[in-house]
């Protein structure tokens, strides 16, 4: 095979094919990510020159610049990057597994589950004066729990001699509608200030991200991403369809479960920190497929970086273009994602 290089380590225990073309494109995307990273550190109400940013990262610069960059901008930009990666990879896995280009964390209800958990949390733990009685730090935990519960519920409700992708999606849509109903119920029952707070969160925003959250987000996302990359070969097999996957000796249901757990974990942590940033999980894998084809070994890393770029850009636009008001990043990903999605559908010849 031209354009590929095979690597074998330890008496063929570990062997993989490197797609040179994909590798080049991946490097290119990493570069873009870095450039956006540096530019977006520099932009905002206080502007910092890109070169100053680089020197700042190595410990130079004035005290004010240090404060702005380290305390305000770096955590949210880091978070944007990680959230984008997580959502994109989760979407890629789901699309491969469900074998449908329209599948994404948003469509199977995981995001909505996390949203409902957050609103329920705000409602349950507020006292009569509408102030929280527990630390707001527990909010991401609630979101994660909500996402996981929904993922499990969708999975088990779809179970009938195994899980078929179609049932998974349909039940996801149903549960998603239920979660949205629950969310509105808590919003209506609670005070209006809570509704607006919850609404910002549901739309997806990186406004209040601090280092504390990044410290949790970073290790979890990295571990899950590595797991995802390792399992990409299973996604390849799953993408062939149930019959062929069984035929080539893959334990289809077990892999399906593991893959679902990995993507739920990624979505759960991302949503816990940044709220429901929509359409990234739908868009990024598509773009990646256009770039490097549909072998998941190269597709997943590439879509991770595309996801990172998307969310970082959305956040950058949201906090700079409409000053003094700050628009949640989720609005931009939806504005970009929906037309793109429709364009894709128009172009796709097969369902």
């Amino acid at each position: 095979m031209r354009g590929y290089r095979s690597i074998r380590i330890g008496k063929d225990k570990i062997s993989l094919l490197l797609d040179k073309n994909a590798l080049v494109k991946l490097m290119f995307l990493v570069m873009i990510t870095l450039v956006i990273f540096i530019i977006s550190i520099g932009l905002g109400q206080v502007k910092v020159h890109p070169f100053t940013v680089i020197s700042l990262l190595f410990g130079g610069g004035t005290e004010l610049d240090q404060l702005v960059v380290y305390q305000l901008r770096l955590p949210r930009i880091f978070a944007a990057m990680l959230v984008g990666m997580g959502l994109a990879v989760a979407g890629g896995i789901l699309q491969g597994m469900i074998r449908n280009h329209l599948a994404a964390p948003d469509t199977i209800g995981v995001t909505a589950g996390a949203g409902m958990a957050v609103v329920a949390f705000l409602w349950l733990f507020s006292d009569e004066k509408y102030s929280l009685i527990v630390s707001i730090k527990w909010l991401p935990v609630a979101a994660f729990v909500g996402a996981s519960i929904v993922a499990f519920a969708v999975y088990f409700l779809s179970w009938k001699d195994g899980v078929t992708p179609i049932r998974l999606v349909l039940i996801g849509i149903g549960i998603s509608a239920l979660m949205q109903a629950g969310t509105t119920m808590f919003m209506v029952l609670g005070p209006i200030y809570m509704a607006s707070q919850a609404n910002i969160w549901i739309t997806g925003s990186l406004n209040s991200v601090t280092w504390e959250e990044v410290n949790v987000l970073f290790p979890v996302t990295v571990v899950l991403l590595i797991l995802a990359f390792i399992s990409s070969r299973h996604v390849n097999v799953q993408a062939l369809g149930e019959d062929i996957a069984t035929g080539v000796g893959s334990p289809v249901q077990r892999h399906r479960f593991i893959l679902l757990m990995i993507s739920t974990g990624l979505v759960g942590t991302a949503v816990a920190v940044a709220g429901g940033i929509g359409f990234v999980g739908l868009m990024a894998p598509h773009m990646a497929r256009k770039l490097v084809g549909s072998s998941f070994g190269s597709l997943l890393p590439v879509s991770a970086f595309i996801g990172a770029i998307l969310v970082m850009l959305a956040d950058l636009i949201g906090r700079t273009l409409f000053l003094p008001s700050i628009v949640p990043a989720g609005v931009f990903t939806a504005t970009l994602g929906a037309p793109y999605f429709i364009y894709l559908l128009m172009k796709t010849k097969t369902g």
Partner: protein, 334 residues
């Protein structure tokens, strides 16, 4: 169809009609302020300006009428969507029609300061039409055409799109959030009778069209090719069905906000009671839809008294298990 079956059908229709009327009566009587049959009767014959009489005339009666009208419309829209797309899960809520109408209304409130009722209605129709068209077009592209799976997914995606736009607007405009939050959750509480009166003509046209179309729908249900072969203008027919759905679903959203799941649940129940003949199915679904929404609305008053649960939430709680049941059963049986 033989006579025995038809008489059974008539009995079913009569029973459901009686249930609908009873539920309307209960909807007027029951609630936070206690009233009785006598009081209701007096409120209309010898109005004395007392609190109870006022509540009955200005709150309870409009509410009961709106619940019945909206429920009926949503259920009929559901039947027609399911036949048109040959998808047992089709309904205004799942297909993004509700989300589109909501988005249009929120836009109108926060950008154009629209507050007149008739403008609300038109805006809502527009949103419903755009969303329905988008889902239909998006779901229909590609080689296989309109597969149930594709159109359901397209609906979910369009819904996601419109609801994130709606949220985006609401985030930047907190005053609007306060104003539309209860409307957005799907509620028939505190709606004035004028709202129903504004929308009623459109709903009525929708109902009448729906009833007139039933024989042709029976033919369409056999498949496009058969319908064409039997001399129906399928394109025109589908367009009319689309119009009916938009009139009924759009009108309902304008009055009550997005109320989901009636359009899924009712057609299935009606079909299992009375069969797939649209001449019977459509009237029965309409009556059942009204009854279900009335019942859900009465329930909504008691769950967290003295507060109220939006009725859209109630229907979601009732409807989701049903949706899951149908989804598990699979597409083939319908």
């Amino acid at each position: 169809m033989d006579k025995i079956l038809n008489s059974k059908r008539i009995i079913i229709i009569v029973i459901v009609t009686i249930a609908l009327i009873l539920l309307m009566g209960m909807s007027i009587i029951l609630g936070y302020t206690d009233t009785s049959m006598m009081l209701t009767y007096e409120a209309f014959t010898s109005f004395d300006g007392s609190n109870e009489h006022l509540i009955i005339q200005t709150v309870r009666l409009p509410r009961a009428l709106i619940a019945a009208g909206v429920g009926t419309s949503l259920a009929i829209a559901g039947v027609y969507m399911q036949t048109l797309t040959k998808n047992p899960l089709a309904s205004p809520g799942i297909f993004g029609v509700n989300a589109g109408a909501s988005f249009a209304v929120v836009c109108a409130i926060s950008f154009f300061n629209v507050s007149s009722l008739s403008a609300f209605t038109w805006v809502s129709f527009l949103g419903a039409a755009v969303a329905a068209l988008a889902v239909y077009v998006v779901g229909g592209v590609g080689r296989q055409g309109l597969t149930p799976m594709k159109i359901t997914l397209a609906g979910a995606a369009i819904t996601a799109l419109f609801s994130s736009f709606t949220q985006g607007i609401l985030v930047t405009n907190e005053a609007a959030l306060d104003e539309v939050l209860f409307w957005l959750s799907g509620s028939i509480q505190g709606r004035k009778l004028e709202m129903l009166v504004t929308v009623f003509p459109y709903l009525l046209i929708g109902w009448l069209l729906a009833l007139v179309m039933t024989p042709m729908m029976n033919v369409l249900a056999m498949g496009d090719d058969v319908a064409k072969g039997l001399g129906l203008k399928v394109g025109l027919l589908k367009l009319t069905v689309g119009l009916i759905v938009i009139l009924l679903a759009g009108g309902s959203v304008a009055v009550a906000g997005p109320i989901g799941f009636i359009g899924i649940v009712i057609p299935h129940i009606a079909r299992s009671l009375i069969g797939t003949d649209h001449r019977w199915l459509v009237p029965l679904a309409g009556l059942l839809g009204g009854a279900l929404l009335l019942a859900a609305d009465i329930g909504a008053r008691y769950i967290v008294m003295p507060q109220e649960v939006p009725v859209g939430v109630m229907t979601a709680f009732i409807g989701t298990p049903f949706f899951i049941y149908i989804a598990r059963k699979g597409f083939n049986k319908g």
